[in-house]
Symmetry: C2
Subunit: 193 residues, 2 copies
């Protein structure tokens, strides 16, 4: 997606440790007009897949999921990372290793919100090693729901998670795939979208 | 807001410890069509206040903030609860006690995203004792930005946070104000909206 790639080149910042910072428009301060376009693009990619529910993981995936949900007229279920007093004990859970946070989270959704018969589109801001996505897919499988695919804003292609999931048959569409950030210069994989 | 009150009565669940569970439509599974209406209502309440930026706190506030942002054509800044490798050290911070989680979080926003001259509307899903809201207001004040007010989906009126902030001069608009949950029965404060 040209608009997102251009924005990454303009406002993204590369830091040591293969960190791409996009907090100025995607996952801390959220640019409303960019997200509108991202939501439309995700809809264009999955509009024929009979999506009945969008799933994401707190916190950075929620905004993108909501901007896409408007077009699908589908509810958004976000997997949580910490239990609170108002959470049922009847949950599907998965362990997710976070390279950015340097820890392992147990993520969960309440069973009553994820059901057999649901056709799930997973949406997230980043896909790197694929740990979060694999965790969400596990939750979908535990529920016996159908996975339609995954829509990602930015994939770090060189970290392999996306291609590994594609090879296993998952429809993974990333709006921008970063192939390299060597010497602080971001280059993208050529794509049709 | 009639639609939200009706939904709380229909699908909300009251648990011991004054817990009102609305995970089926507001803050775990998010009902797209309800959020559309909530976003419109928040716009109606603050459309004349020249809002330039919407601020919320992860994770449950993000969805509501995004559905409102579309109408204001304003970016959404969400305060974070944990530092990651891609966060600058140059942040405004505030301590927020969470009654639901039973802990104290340091919340923060990066200084470059919250500036003098910004006219901030704070949006959140719940207002109870007002701790999160006071934390966000503190961030706004530290930045020298202007606080337009706060739009809340559900206020627990009997816990006093909202009225205390109103008494201090903050424009706090809650779409549903729960006055009592005694014996598991939810009653609302009468309002014009």
């Amino acid at each position: 997606m040209k608009l997102l790639e251009e924005r990454i080149l303009r406002d993204g910042k590369v830091f040591p440790g293969e960190v791409l910072k996009v907090g100025g428009f995607l996952n801390h301060l959220i640019d409303d007009s960019l997200l509108e376009e991202i939501g439309k693009e995700i809809y264009a990619l999955f509009k024929d897949d009979n999506v009945t529910k969008i799933m994401t993981i707190e916190a950075s995936g929620i905004a993108i999921a909501c901007y896409a949900a408007r077009h699908f007229h589908a509810p958004v279920l976000f997997a949580k990372k910490s239990k609170t007093a108002n959470i049922s004990s009847d949950c599907y859970t998965a362990s997710v290793k976070s390279y950015t946070h340097g820890n392992v989270n147990t993520v969960f959704v309440e069973k009553e919100y994820l059901c057999k018969g649901d056709r799930i589109l997973i949406i997230d801001d980043f896909l790197a090693h694929g740990e979060a996505l694999k965790g969400l897919i596990s939750l979908v499988e535990q529920a016996g729901a159908d996975l339609v695919g995954a829509a990602i804003a930015i994939e770090k292609g060189f970290q392999g998670g996306g291609d590994s999931l594609r090879a296993s048959g998952v429809k993974v569409c990333s709006l921008a795939i970063v192939e390299s950030m060597a010497d602080g210069k971001v280059t993208f994989r050529k794509q049709e979208i």
